[in-house]
Amino acid sequence: MWQWFHRLASPRWFYQASGKFLPWISMLGLFFISLGLVWGLGFAPQDAKQGNSFRIIYIHVPSSFLALVGYYIMAAAGAIAIIWKIKLADMVMKAAAPIGAAFTFVALLTGAIWGKPTWGTYWIWDARITSMLILFFLYLGVIILQSSYEHKGLSSKAAALLALVGTVNIPIIYKSVDWWYTLHQPATIRFTEAPSMHPDMFQPLLVMIVGFYFLYAIALVASIRVEILHRERRTKWVQDLVFTNKNNDP
């Protein structure tokens, strides 16, 4: 069991294994996303009030999902890297930060584009939008901290600590922003989403969410592979050292 675990955590093993399964998840991702896009944009019925503009939901909702999930994946990888000092977890964390930030940005951007026809403005200080923006800042903090250290080992540990503090903070931020919003409920604009979506609209959304999970996985695995190559290339002697020291390496 432990041997298997250590093998999984070795960058070289991961690089070889991921090379084999990456094409498969890429194909699955492509399948789900194209199915969801065609179904959602082309065949799902129009919304009674918003017409065709609601269709941006098929990008907006999945990317919001992944924005939040991505932070927890990043923080979990950071925790694993700190506690068990597993190199691969370290690389996962480093790769996950910009990807998560990108999904958060897409969620914010599509939200703004969607807001214009629906509420007549690109930006309102809605509770969910504000939380999303703060989440984006949290991601930025991790990325900036990571990139400003010159010492590679320190940078990921520092960023992991920050990500963990952020993880504790996220529920607090969400609750506090919710509370703040109920205090200052603006009278003019209300976020009136249909409480239950029609199945015809909901099914393509589900497909898109699955597709976005695959997209996230593809982006993550691809970045990790680049990160592995990058680190091993820059320090050739460390690479040799790592491989001679690892007893249970193939």
């Binding site: 320190l154 520092a158 600590l161």
Partner: protein, 223 residues
């Protein structure tokens, strides 16, 4: 009482008192930026009183943020920090002592000055107790969370903007509950709820923040 805690507490307090100039900086900053508000906006007291709770809280937050650089930097530069870390004493308590001293010389004076500045911004009478109470507890949270950021950015030297960037998102809940508790008090509502929430955030960060800060400080001397 924990000896490491007492030693660091007395030393840091002494160092802070000997540097009187640095001591006054956050307070003077707070004072000056509050003066900027009527100049940039309007001297009309009805408008000022409307935005006073938020402005006071945001500016106090910035003043506390600006003073974070000094928390560990000098000790790091002259090697004292390494000596502190290798002491056979729990680092948690020594970090806590440093943070408490930081609060005593920034958060406490800011909270006590706030009513005077509130008066200048014509803050309604009902807001004062909530303002002072929320600032007293809130600035303590800011010092605790800020210490995490200060420790994480320590090996990077004086990076200026980096520390605020990583710390400010963490500050937002404190700001929300702090500023809105003052607003609620002015509008005649009970502020027990938000103040209790700030208190619970303070309790949580008292437990977590010194611990994470200690970990980050251990990291910083490895580089």
């Amino acid at each position: 009482m924990n000896t490491g805690f007492m030693v660091i507490f007395r030393r840091d307090l002494l160092v802070a008192i000997r540097h009187r100039g640095d001591l006054a900086n956050p307070v003077i900053f707070f004072f000056i930026v509050i003066v900027l508000v009527p100049l940039g906006l309007t001297p009309e007291s009805s408008k000022l009183s409307e935005i006073a709770p938020g402005i006071l809280w945001v500016m106090a937050l910035l003043a506390s943020l600006l003073s974070l650089d000094s928390l560990f930097q000098n000790d790091y530069d002259d090697g004292t920090l390494e000596q502190i870390i290798i002491l056979p004493q729990p680092l948690y308590f020594m970090v806590l002592a440093k943070i408490i001293v930081h609060w005593l010389v920034t958060g406490l004076p800011l909270s006590l000055l706030a009513p005077i500045l509130g008066m200048m911004l014509s803050l309604p009478d009902a807001g004062y107790p909530a303002l002072v109470l929320s600032l007293l507890m809130g600035t303590a949270i800011l010092s605790l969370l800020g210490a995490v950021g200060a420790a994480l950015t320590l090996p990077l030297g004086k990076e200026g903007l980096l520390l605020p960037l990583i710390v400010m998102p963490l500050y937002m809940p404190v700001l929300i509950f702090g500023a809105n508790s003052v607003q609620l008090a002015i509008n005649g509502f009970s502020v027990i709820g938000p103040l209790a929430t700030i208190g619970s955030l303070l309790a949580l960060s008292l437990i977590v923040a010194p611990y994470v800060t200690a970990g980050a400080l251990r990291l910083s001397i490895q580089g």
